[in-house]
Symmetry: none
Subunit: 187 residues, 4 copies
């Protein structure tokens, strides 16, 4: 059911993802929802998003820990995201983007979780950049922020075009930007 929820949110956004269709897709009976998720739609979406986020974060961490350097790690990660997007027929993009765009006004814990997720991704990248010698810390942080931003935007462009080309362009240019910020690169 969490998978169906995540998929439907990716397709239609938070408000467009109806409980009826979620239940129908996952074969869950109606009453079970409020048994397992007393908080209703909010809780369901929260948990579904957290689960998707966990997977994505794990992938990012794995690439950063692969010992191939930040340039190659980021490049591979972005291309992996592109592949996943294409494989899912351009459904599976970023799990937090639809929530952030649909729930601006609401002070829900959902939005806070999405914000924390985005912060966490930036932190992971920033630390990897710093470890690779990018300095000062503010530079590493700015580069991490830009990387996450370019990935989010790249997923948007790829979805709009139904093509992975925007993401390959982003992978190349962001890789170049990271390379240029590395200490050994000035030479």
């Amino acid at each position: 059911m969490l998978e169906a929820t995540a998929a439907l949110i990716q397709e239609r956004g938070f408000h467009g993802a109806g409980l009826n269709e979620i239940l129908a897709r996952s074969g869950t009976p109606r009453g079970s929802l409020y048994h397992h998720f007393p908080g209703g739609k909010g809780q369901l979406v929260l948990e579904a998003t957290l689960r998707s986020v966990e997977v994505v974060t794990r992938v990012l961490e794995d690439h950063l820990a692969a010992g191939v350097g930040p340039v190659e790690a980021v490049r591979r990660y972005i291309l992996a995201a592109a592949e996943e997007l294409e494989r899912s027929n351009y459904i599976v993009g970023c799990p937090v983007a639809p929530v952030v765009l649909d729930l601006l006004a609401d002070p829900a814990p959902l939005v806070e979780a999405c914000r924390d997720t985005l912060r966490n991704w930036q932190r992971l990248l920033r630390d990897a950049f710093s470890r690779s010698g990018i300095a000062p810390p503010a530079r590493a942080a700015a580069l991490a922020t830009t990387t996450v931003a370019a990935l989010e935007g790249g997923l948007l462009l790829a979805r709009a075009e139904r093509s992975t080309l925007p993401l390959t362009a982003v992978a190349g240019e962001i890789g170049a930007a990271i390379q240029a910020a590395l200490p050994t690169s000035p030479r």
Copy 2:
């Protein structure tokens, strides 16, 4: 009414923007909507989006034509977007992003219009980059795509944080990336 529509879509996304609230905000009676937009919500949102896009595009063109070079033009444009976002209490971001994220499955003309808009922005930037000497054309195109992507993602991050800091980081790093691609820069 178009403004209210655009604003509400920014706040809640396509499916979360109800006609009732749009009408209530703009003081429009229900029957007028059907008169001016016989196509219903789809047409209304399309025209509202096109209007917002037009304004944004104009601003981008103006900055690119200001004769300050692509680095400074892009930097100023991103910071202008950040200012606008902050001034509107983090409501006014990109007009096409919510539509793209909410209407994946639908073959609506809306999605096509958004796709064309994104293409146009990339084209404007690519041409400016090429005119500044960035070559080959594919490089200029990739840089333009990455710039648009980073801006879209930056707006998302800024909204999630309710802060313009992500956009200033993006402005700086994207500026640096463009600078590094300019022909005169290597020396």
Copy 3:
């Protein structure tokens, strides 16, 4: 416009016939309706119905005055109605039936006009029957009522079956009934 109104009422009934579609079919501009028919939909439908009724009544009168005797006159009239129904793809039946069935509660002048129309048809038949020697007057009246009823019901059955067979059956049996009531027939 009156024709379009009559046709649409035959297809969808009074409440199902929307002014929008009437105007669209007849090419009439919106404002003209209330110029020519200040009474709105009620008046429009009333006049359209009266016009259709006039045509039907004329046909009935012509058949009755053709000097072929009441049996043949009624038979020809019913078959003419069947032909018209078939020619119009089972749209053109009785112009008053839909109004009577749709406006039971309403005390509109429309219903009174329909009632008077039905009375008039019965009167025309009753007089023809009496002139042919059917007596007493109450018998002629009952036969006239039954003839109109069978025609109305026959149109209903024909429409439901999309076939003129029910009307030919009605024509035959009602003809036989009239024949049996004629004074010369017993012998």
Copy 4:
């Protein structure tokens, strides 16, 4: 709720019967409708019509099986319909007539059900007529069709006049027609 639906359709026709009023009359909460009738208005009307039809059919069968001969059976049945019509303040007529007249264009299963109902009534009458010796079969069928038609039309006339007199006239004349077709009658 089914009763309220049937009654409202009799009063205003298919398009004139609003779900709101049906719910208000029957005291049903809004959401229950969609729960019990996922097919919406179409399914609701279909089931309501079928229920009304069942009752009417039962009454017809009972009269035909009463062993009083077809003439008396039909006479009693028509007069029973007249009584029911009067008792309900001229609301309860034929349950299928409004549907047939309101839904000409639609290929709904509703119309098919109405057609089958009308066929069934004709079949019941035809079989009774045949059992009573009316021959050939085509004659019995034509008489059955005419009987149903006269009843349908008689209900229309009675409603328009707000009087049962048309139905008593129909009962008498149709009875005479059946009598004339019986084999023992010529003698």
